[in-house]
Symmetry: C2
Subunit: 562 residues, 2 copies
């Protein structure tokens, strides 16, 4: 059976159909209603829920969020009563006829297929987990974590099979959030990741601190390795994960967290333009290549805010903003999306890792290169004199010579995402590292310092740009070229130093200048970069040729040369 | 004995004298050395410590910071060895001869008086506690808290006198931080404050939440009252504080926290320009009215970043920035201070209160008025579906009609100072409420929401400026003019509502439009302002004349009409 519900639309009563009921779709529907009481708005969702909290799923598995209903941000009833939006759950949109402006829908419960015409169509199909084509991939006990149903299946499996050992395939956001939560349940976990690092959005030296933390917490970490196959354990209880490097990992459950890809089948069928990253192409008004079709959320390619290059960054905040923008534009307002910065945060077993803007890896891969520099620092998250200060490792990337902030990454136990949020706001306003220097941040000793880590990051970078502190990175340290100077105290030096370094503690430096070479470049380091900056200034002002090694010995430990 | 240590300065070897060794002076000395190895730099401090953590004093009294030495950021020895700066503790600068460029100094240990000439003089004298001239003010057991010595005296008194009851006079930063710490020690506390609110930098309706919290924690609160006199208790143990309203408060100790005033005696003696706020006048390079004298820190008047009017805001972060700027300018760099935003934070017994920019009170007092509007909101500090979300009350002030952010105040248990820091960064870059709407903040459910409180604040304000949600404040609610509509659920209404309100729950609103008056303005509220915004949109689009009451019933409870 196939029929068109043909409520004709008049100009004052547009018919808006929305495909997909999570972040982008739901926000679009609600916004559209706020702009028009007359519009007819129907939201189609092939799943059994509308607007659920997908970012909460790992915590639901980990029983931090106790009840399924807590994940349900809203219901079709609320949507109807509050927004006068009709939500059709378990109704899958099969195809789009963009000439006739009609979609074909299947009711998954009744198998009825029917048509609906539209004045405006919004696609918010989201993304789906990447499932690798591997032998044994269909074995029971192998899961993805994308829906509430997935979560319930995992929870049931863990209980019923008395799961002890889990292999998590993939060390990105979902993988690591799952690790934290599965570990909370007392499970033993091994991560298998094809890349040489976890969290591929980070640069490797920042990810290294996460990796050390995971190892210290007893999480198995198989990097630069992938899965070759899954097989049933001989006992019939459990799964054997065979890695490409030949390891065999026994477990009771596998979680596939190998990333997501945009759901573009409907857009492709409709002949909408698809970008080079396999996302739906939209303009800044979220309009697709068809003037009556908009698209939002994980499925679309948007411009990176900084590089203006196309990017695919699946995040809930931007998806919900895009939904509102699409609704605005459909109903006659000229809202536009400014581009995506990719601001994100992840909690990993007591560490927080967060970033915004471009990574060094992304900067290196840009088509239109931006000249940039980077600095590392390791400030306390609040004043050192107040008990409990925790080190935050910060990497700040900025353009040269103007100092415009390009990106920042931070990892630590406390106060991490706060600094990234501040820098994210700065980036949106085109701020430079000189602005970070001057930023006026909250200071009481339990919250920050008179020089907040954000100020410090700006100061370190500004010192480089002003030429006050010429910069060297560990990976560029050519031991034949540089005289390596360690200005820490003798005890610190004794406890560990870089091979070939000479120890002249900062307080004695002025008195010992004649020990230093006049005709060789000096590379100086301390613990984190502050004393070596002071030393750099002393040496420059005394006529030496000197560079300050960014991030000091702390960065040397976490940024081993590749 | 009086002699001039007359090391003549040559142009390449300026002689820089710095008066005052805490935040501003210490940072100036260190910065000057980083710019010149040849300069002679001497720092005079009349107290026994250089660069101590004055913001830590309340926590030292409260034994959160256990040891005095933790408060000592640096020592004269470190200053000498690290910065080649001579620090003369317990040396008080008595006078300045700005024509001869000579200062007169008294060594407080030897009583020797001597002179020093300078090329550049930097004044960083700080501020001193305001001590009211009241009968009994000199009784033992009455303290101020400004130095390490003050702290030690208080600690000794508490122990030796077995203090149980304390009266804190003044409910500003120092008073409230002291309250938190004295309460930690198990002491019973009453605050006496002349103003009708604590935290005078905040607007009263925001301070009210603090006041309720203090009362709930068992702190006595005597607002709109002051001290008339102190007298010895008849038992000779303890003090009686008699208030202006005639109350008699028995206690074992009094802490005076009635504010600070700039230390300007030296500047005044030298004939430097003093501003209308009784601070030392400086230009944006921190230069005083004398071209060889700079001044920084609590003692100076600086321009407010937003209003450009003169202001006195004693904060450590700006003081240390100003110190560096003075050093830069002395040594030939054209750094300048951008102005002060007054970003601050205070922890009060489990609540955090924080603000940046201008308050409504300050806006009302400006000479050059800025047309402004304000909104209130009460979002959770992270996603509601993740356990433990705490309400933050936010007040956002912005200019009309351009939406430029003028100030923000926030109070809550968690995530408060983060939002203020983000808004502080936004203000520095001239951001508008429309920028806050678009800000891309970190989101994972334990850190924030897909719509962060910062976004929410921007959206609520932008809705007002776009005309989407005409605004009404509780204090402007004229019950004869408005039909008052409560769109919460019946149970919420039953538990408490505003007198005269009619309850039509949002989900039933569309069906009950004919119950609403067509020829009278409607004022609508819900719990916090979101549902009433939805109702406002429904009513506007259906032709009603409607205003949304900012902050909803939550704000009504905390913002009683004056």
């Amino acid at each position: 059976m196939s029929k068109a519900h043909s409520q004709a639309s008049d100009s004052g009563k547009p018919r808006i159909l929305i495909v997909g009921g999570v972040a982008g779709g739901a926000s679009c529907a609600a916004r559209a209603r706020r702009l028009s009481e007359k519009a007819e708005i129907i939201l189609f969702e092939r799943g059994p829920f509308v607007s659920f909290a997908s970012c909460g799923l790992p915590y639901y598995v980990g029983e931090v969020i106790r009840e399924e209903k807590n994940l349900l941000v809203t219901t079709p009833e609320i949507f109807k009563r509050r927004f006068n939006v009709e939500v059709r759950l378990r109704n899958e949109v099969l195809s789009i006829d963009k000439t006739e402006k009609v979609i074909e829908v299947k009711n998954l419960d009744t198998s009825e297929i029917y048509k609906e015409n539209y004045d405006a169509l919004v696609l918010s199909p989201g993304s789906s987990p990447v499932i690798p084509h591997l032998p044994g991939i269909d074995l029971p006990g192998i899961f993805t974590l994308r829906t509430i149903q997935d979560s319930n299946r995992i929870k049931t499996w863990i209980t019923e099979k008395e799961v002890r050992q889990v292999v998590v395939v993939g060390g990105g956001f979902i993988g690591l959030e799952a690790v934290e939560n599965l570990a909370n349940l007392g499970l033993s976990i091994t991560i298998v990741e094809m890349l040489p690092q976890v969290m591929p959005n980070l640069d490797p030296e920042i990810a290294l601190r996460l990796q050390e933390h995971l190892s210290a917490k007893g999480i198995g970490l198989k990097l630069s390795d992938g899965v070759k196959q899954f097989s049933q354990a001989p006992s019939k209880k459990g799964i054997i994960v065979t890695t490409r490097l030949g390891e065999e990992l026994n477990c009771d459950m596998v979680l596939l967290a190998t990333g997501v890809k945009p759901e573009i089948s409907l857009a492709r069928q409709a002949g909408l333009e698809i970008g080079e990253l396999n996302g739906i192409r939209v303009d800044s008004h979220m309009q697709t290549s068809d003037k009556n079709i908009w698209a939002v959320g994980d499925a679309v390619e948007v411009r990176n805010f900084i590089s203006r290059e196309w990017s695919l960054i699946p995040l809930a905040g931007p998806a919900s903003r895009q939904g509102r923008i699409a609704a605005d534009c459909i109903l006659g307002r000229q809202s536009s999306f400014r581009g995506i910065q990719g601001t994100n945060v992840c909690s990993v077993m007591g560490l927080t890792v967060s970033s915004t803007g471009l990574s060094e890896k992304t900067l290196a891969s840009l088509k239109n290169k931006i000249p940039f520099e980077k600095v590392y620092l390791h400030p306390g998250h609040h004043a050192g004199y107040y008990p409990g200060a925790k080190m935050i490792t910060i990497k700040l990337l900025f353009s040269v010579p103007d100092g415009k902030i390009l990106g920042a990454q931070a990892v630590g136990e406390e106060g991490v995402e706060k600094r990234i949020d501040i820098i994210s706001m700065a980036i949106q306003k085109g701020a430079t590292v000189f602005d970070l220097e001057e930023a006026e941040m909250c200071y009481a000793p339990q919250f920050g310092s008179a020089k907040d880590p954000v100020n410090m990051a700006g100061m370190v970078a500004a010192n480089v740009l002003r030429g006050d502190s010429p910069l060297l990175h560990w990976k560029d340290l050519d031991s034949s070229r540089y005289y390596l100077l360690d200005v820490r105290e003798p005890l610190e030096f004794k406890l560990g130093h870089v091979e070939g370094a000479t120890n002249i503690p900062l307080p004695t430096l002025r008195a010992r200048l004649d020990e230093l070479p006049k005709n060789k470049e000096i590379a100086v380091y301390c613990a984190a970069g502050q004393r070596s900056y002071y030393a750099t200034r002393i040496l420059i002002l005394n006529g030496f040729d000197v560079k300050n090694i960014s991030g000091g010995f702390t960065s040397h430990k976490t940024a081993k040369p590749e």
